[in-house]
Symmetry: C2
Subunit: 238 residues, 2 copies
């Protein structure tokens, strides 16, 4: 809700955990931007021009796949940064970064981030720890995709979204969910129906509402817990 005013404290967790002096110096070089639904922040294989500290909304990471196909392998919300390849010394993106839930971000040029990383200050350290948590997330998703059924996987994904949206009403269509999980649209309809029947969520056109968060957590596979812990281990979280 509260957009950070001028010289205010940002919503982004990476920025929040910086020492105030570093943070203020950095904020001066960050540009607030809107994140529109379906906006592409960077394309797989293409150069990265800006990196985005997410303030609100959710960005999905999609690797290259056959024409017309897509599967999400990780997602970033207000806890993190989009454009990690730059922090690792790469100029191009490994995945496509696609805005799934609109929001806001503070962005800086790739060039400026390279300079920050070379500095080696607290921001660089925080970003590298965030890289690690994204790796953990993607590794767990890889295993989950191989071993777990549709309902468990979808439940895990809904929980990950819920953590980052922080509202019970989540603007998600079955079609969007199916594309993120790499499954049939009608499969998602069935799975949501199952969660609905046990009272964990309710469904209306274009919206999934979380009714029973503990119930959802019970329905998800252990992968959710592993990912959550990897994310919370970040400095300043918890």
């Amino acid at each position: 809700m509260a957009t950070s005013g001028p010289a205010g404290i940002p919503e982004n967790l990476l920025l929040r955990t910086l020492p105030p002096a570093d943070r203020d110096a950095l904020l001066a070089r960050l540009e607030p931007v809107e994140l529109a639904f379906r906006q592409i922040l960077h394309e797989a294989g293409a150069p990265i021009t800006h990196v985005y500290f997410i303030e609100a909304g959710i960005v999905s990471h999609l690797p290259q796949l056959e024409e017309g196909q897509a599967v999400e392998v990780g997602l970033t919300g207000p806890e993190g940064l989009v454009g990690l390849d730059v922090a690792l010394g790469g100029g191009t993106a490994v995945t496509r970064a696609l805005v799934q839930v609109p929001g806001r971000a503070l962005r800086m040029t790739a060039e400026a981030l390279r300079a920050e990383m070379a500095n080696g200050g607290p921001l660089a350290a925080a970003i590298l720890l965030f890289v690690r948590s994204m790796y953990a997330q993607t590794a767990q998703v890889a295993a989950c995709n191989a071993r777990h059924g549709l309902i468990e996987r979808m439940t895990r994904w809904l929980l990950m979204m819920h953590d980052r949206i922080r509202e019970n009403r989540m603007p998600l269509t079955h079609d969007l969910i199916s594309k993120m999980l790499g499954v049939r649209r009608s499969g998602v309809t069935l799975a949501i129906g199952a969660l609905n029947k046990v009272g964990a969520v309710s469904q209306s056109r274009g919206t999934v509402t979380v009714l029973d968060r503990p119930g959802l957590e019970a329905a998800a596979c252990g992968c959710y817990g592993v990912i959550r812990r990897a994310t919370e281990r970040l400095p300043g979280a918890s």
Copy 2:
């Protein structure tokens, strides 16, 4: 074959690409060790004591999963380093690192690597680029697990092993392959049989032999190419 003699040039690609001065300084602090079949280099969630520059052999990365289950989400051979969490500032491992093909490595203490990373020299830059290639590998595996069939996935995996073993005779049992892919053992037997029928590989007890590498590449999904390119984009490769 040729084990690097004293002051010789290491097999490891990360070390090879260092400027000779840096490399020699580093080698003095590296300890050669054998990698035994099924040896665990680090356990998921546990502290990392040493990091390993692989000289020969292959190490699999396995995230936490239900009791008795396992799926590989990435693998490292003589092109890389095992223990990346340390390079990112973490003290514990995200995945279990398990030796699948025995070999050799040069290892250093986690503490020493932390010092190297703080230095910010060419080794640090090379390692961060390697982190990026491992992320790309794992992201692609995640998508591949979600979308592609058993034969395509197994073929991709065999090619990745072949790249790193560099010999056509690969010491792999169906049971091992099935555990890495997270599928049935008898499913692997069928899939290998299919590759055998088209003359791409031959099979004998405990050994899979690559007969027709182009044929294998044709049978794999595009994920193999994506992963390969991400690996080759490392400095000094190609």
